[in-house]
Structure formats: structure tokens, C-alpha cells
């Protein structure tokens, strides 16, 4: 499954929604996020994720500059490296956590026009990290015979 597709993020949403036991201890999270993956060979891929409570309720392909509370924007290769690390280790490790990547900002940048929206990245960070970590199950399943 290609990571720069709505199907991939829909699968992550299905994975999250199927495992409330992982998200319930973290508590509810309400946030409206746009993920942007850039590739010099084509126009950027962007997807809008709407989290409500302990579910990811909406996954919609979007424009890179769609309004949102915050956006995470970076090259496809950086996103691929993050998901590769998640698949290899079962969860993001070292500097491949989304907070580390966005903090350094060298590859994946955290952006948004409202500081209160940007702070939601911090307020619900562990939920977002678990959401991305869900890729370990997805991609591991895909390569299974």
C-alpha cells in the first residue's frame, strides 16, 4: 500500500477505530489535521484527518493549503522513512517520532495560522503518534504471505 494515498490513511483510521482499548487510556482528542507529502515528480499529496473522541472519523483527500488546525508538511521520502521505522520497530523510535521530526523541522514541518491550533499538536500528540504507529500492523500484514 502506498503511503501517499487516501486508502493508506483510511486503513490507519480503520485500525484506530478497531482498537479503542489503545486510545481510551489516552483520552479523547478532537483535532483537524492536514498531512502533506511532497514529491518533486508530481503535485503534492494531501489528506485531511478529523479526529473526534477516540476515533478518526474522516479521511479526505485535500489541497495542501486546506484550512485546518495544524498541518504536517514534508517530503514523501521523510514520511516514508518515518513509516519504515514504525514497521521495523513496531512503533516510531529515536528521531522518527512525529514530535521529533516536526520539532527539528528539517524535513517535516508543523504549520498553521493559529497558535491555539498549533498547540493541539502538543495537546493530542500521543494520540497522533499511536495513529501513525498503527502502520506497523497494516504494513506488516501486507507483507505477510
Amino acid at each position: 500500500m502506498k503511503i501517499n494515498t487516501p486508502e493508506f490513511f483510511s486503513a490507519l483510521a480503520v485500525e484506530m477505530n478497531a482498537h479503542p482499548e489503545r486510545y481510551q487510556p489516552l483520552g479523547e482528542a478532537d483535532m483537524d489535521v492536514v498531512i502533506v507529502m511532497r514529491d518533486a515528480r508530481r503535485s503534492p499529496f494531501a489528506v485531511r484527518l478529523a479526529f473526534e473522541g477516540i476515533r478518526c472519523e474522516h479521511v479526505v483527500e485535500a489541497e495542501a493549503d486546506s484550512p485546518c488546525e495544524y498541518r504536517l508538511d514534508g517530503p514523501l521520502a521523510a514520511w516514508q522513512a518515518m513509516f519504515d521505522d514504525i514497521v521495523a520497530n513496531g512503533r516510531a523510535t529515536g528521531l522518527h517520532t512525529i514530535n521529533s521530526l516536526a520539532l527539528l523541522g528539517d524535513d517535516i514541518a508543523l504549520g498553521g495560522s493559529d497558535p491555539m491550533g498549533l498547540d493541539k499538536f502538543s495537546r493530542f500528540n500521543q494520540t497522533l503518534q499511536e495513529f501513525f504507529d498503527g502502520a506497523s500492523t497494516l504494513l506488516a500484514l501486507e507483507v505477510a504471505p
Binding site: 483520552g27 523510535t93 514530535n99 497558535p115 491555539m116 498547540d119 502538543s122 493530542f124
Partner: protein, 367 residues
């Protein structure tokens, strides 16, 4: 409701022991009898029950007792001595949301940190982590002491704001707990506590008004600590510390969200408050800068950023500078959002730090 059809007139006027009885409550409240809040999918939230007059928070409450907002209040209730009696003194439009979020996202420093995964670290890194944890154990409780100092002075009509501050106090207790535990857990222990931290904390606790206090604590102090916790991802030597910093970061961001929106609410409703906040921040920024550049704080952070003393000069200090720039940028952007632009007034050397003023100004405009 059937209460209107029932006759209570024959109920006894005295108890079997002869004490006088009052059945007035049985006739129901004056206006909201039958109003039935509907639970949302996640349960019955404070936002759900903010209906009818129960949801109306008065700008200037007439009562100064602990009577619940929306009850029929007997005349002549005692005055509790509240001094924060205007909504603008304590309110923020996100108070109910943040309270629910805080309750839902509580965690345990005992159970939710994988303490068993702690690794033996090089002495320099363990010392640096312990020094940072010593500092954080010391400073975190100010964000519990300060609301506690002011809460009993807040009019009870602003119950949601008080409830949110209760969650903050619990959060800060947990932060003090988790950093104390981390300092001790790997054999390093608590290290040096210097005067600078206490000077900063005294500035906060001795603020003249609650809004000045919240500017110093939520916006300035906790804003900086929030970014320090974000930075924790980079300075954490193992997954244990990463988890600690990430969980603390979530809590801290709620406190900053309350403080930012409280100041905004306060300034919008009383523009004179802006100067009061500016005065507090003029002083606070100076003290915080002295504290942040204190020799032990900056060296411990630099060692952690460099992964040890070996690369402290070529890696640790440059990364530390970059982080400082991010901290000040976030703080100034939040000030814009709060409606108290500091760009023309701050003494922070923005040029030296390479902070782009226009980007920050735009954040305030578009928010």
C-alpha cells in the same frame, strides 16, 4: 413533569422529633424544571449541561457564596470573601472543553511510564538528565501552588474555571512526581537546586493580580516549559524519557491554552488589563531569560542535546540556540493570539535570536 399536579400541602410541618421542616425544594426550581441535557456520544459533558440558564455565566455575579450557579439562592447567603468577582477576571472561552479534555487524558506516572525499560546511561548523560529532572521537580509545582493561591478567591459562579484549575493542580502534582521518580529511578538522584529557579517562582507567586499571575505562569512560564517538553523528544536518552516528556507536554499544552484564551478574554472585556499584563511580562521575560541562561540549566540541556559532553560545543549549544529561538517564537505568537502583542515592547533580542517578526505578526492576524 408531574410536580405541578401534586398536592404537597398536607406534608408535615415538623419532624417526628419536632424539628421544623421545609418542603420548598419539592416544588422544583423556578425556571429550568424539565430542561434535560442530552449526552453527547462520549457521555454527558460539561458542554452538554451548559444549557438554559445553567450555561449562562454572569459577567458580574450578585452572589458571593458557594451556592451553585442556577440554584434558587436564599437571600442573605454569607459572603465567602471572593475578590475575583468579574467573569473577565478568570474566564476563558475554552474552559469547559479543556476541563473535559483534562479529565479524559489523565495518566499515571506509576503505571503509564515503561520504567522497566530504563537503560544504564553514560555518567554525563545520567547526570544531565538528573539535573534537568531536579529543576523540573522544583518548578512544576508552582503551577499547582499558584492556582491554589487564587482559586478560593474566585467567585463560585465561575465553577468551570475553578474545576479546570483543579485538573491543572493534579497535572502538576503528577509532573513533580514523574520527574522526581526519573531522577531517582536510574541511580543518579536529585542534583543541584540554585537560587535562580526560586527567584522566578517568587515572581510568579507574588504577582499582584490573577491575570498578571496567569500571564507569568500560563503564557510565559508554562509556554516555555511546554516547548522544553517538546524538546524532550530530542534530549531523551531512551523511550522512557520520551514517553515522560510527551505525556507531560500534552498536559502543559492545556494549561497554556487556558492561559492564552483567558488573557484574550480578559483584555477584550477590559482593555486596561493589557498594560497590567505587559508590566508583568516586562519583568517576567527578564527573569526567565536570566533563569534560562543560568549556567547549570544551559549546560545540562546542551549535554542532553549533544548526547554527552563530547559534542557539547559543536552540537549541544547550536541545537540549544535553535530550541531557544523556537521557544521565544512560540511565546510571542501566543502573545499575539492573546491580544497582547509583545513585538514592539519586548526586550528579548529578537534580531540576535533570528526571530522573524512578520511571521509572528501574521499568526496574530490570521488567528
Amino acid at each position: 413533569m408531574s410536580e405541578a399536579t401534586k398536592d404537597y400541602s398536607k406534608l408535615p410541618a415538623v419532624s417526628p422529633l419536632g424539628a421544623p421542616l421545609d418542603w420548598a425544594w419539592l416544588r422544583g426550581a423556578k425556571s429550568e424544571w424539565g430542561v434535560r441535557p442530552k449526552p453527547s456520544p462520549r457521555g454527558l459533558t460539561m458542554l452538554d449541561i451548559a444549557v438554559g440558564t445553567y450555561g449562562e455565566v454572569p459577567d458580574h455575579p450578585t452572589h458571593r457564596s458557594m451556592a451553585p450557579r442556577g440554584a434558587d439562592i436564599e437571600p442573605g447567603t454569607p459572603d465567602m470573601g471572593y475578590i475575583l468577582n468579574d467573569k473577565a477576571d478568570v474566564w476563558a472561552d475554552n474552559t469547559r472543553e479543556l476541563y473535559e479534555e483534562a479529565v479524559a487524558r489523565q495518566w499515571s506516572a506509576t503505571r503509564d511510564i515503561p520504567w522497566g525499560e530504563l537503560q544504564e546511561l553514560d555518567d554525563d548523560v545520567e547526570h544531565a538528565m538528573c539535573q534537568l529532572c531536579t529543576l523540573l521537580t522544583e518548578v512544576e509545582m508552582i503551577a499547582a501552588d499558584l492556582p491554589a493561591k487564587w482559586m478560593w478567591r474566585m467567585n463560585h459562579e465561575f465553577i468551570e474555571a475553578k474545576m479546570f484549575l483543579c485538573t491543572q493542580i493534579m497535572d502538576e502534582a503528577r509532573h513533580a512526581e514523574v520527574f522526581r521518580k526519573r531522577a531517582l529511578a536510574n541511580g543518579g538522584g536529585l542534583l543541584v537546586s540554585r537560587n535562580g529557579a526560586t527567584s522566578l517562582l517568587r515572581t510568579i507567586i507574588e504577582a499582584k493580580s490573577y491575570t498578571q499571575a496567569t500571564a507569568l505562569m500560563h503564557l510565559l512560564g508554562e509556554g516555555f516549559v511546554l516547548d522544553l517538553f517538546r524538546m524532550g523528544e530530542l534530549i531523551a536518552p531512551s523511550e522512557v524519557e520520551k514517553r515522560i516528556f510527551r505525556m507531560c507536554m500534552q498536559d502543559e499544552a492545556r494549561h497554556v491554552a487556558y492561559g492564552t484564551m483567558h488573557i484574550r478574554y480578559s483584555v477584550e472585556h477590559d482593555p486596561d488589563v493589557a498594560e497590567e499584563v505587559h508590566e508583568a511580562l516586562d519583568h517576567g521575560e527578564m527573569i526567565l531569560t536570566e533563569f534560562g541562561t543560568a549556567p547549570d540549566v544551559s549546560t545540562a540541556l546542551a549535554v542532553l542535546l549533544a548526547g554527552g559532553v563530547e559534542h557539547v560545543e559543536d552540537k549541544g549549544f547550536p541545537m540549544s540556540m535553535e530550541m531557544t529561538k523556537k521557544q521565544f517564537s512560540s511565546y510571542l505568537a501566543r502573545c499575539e493570539r492573546a491580544g497582547i502583542s509583545r513585538l514592539e515592547r519586548t526586550k528579548i533580542p529578537l534580531d540576535m535570536l533570528g526571530i522573524d517578526i512578520e511571521t509572528i505578526r501574521n499568526a496574530g492576524r490570521t488567528a
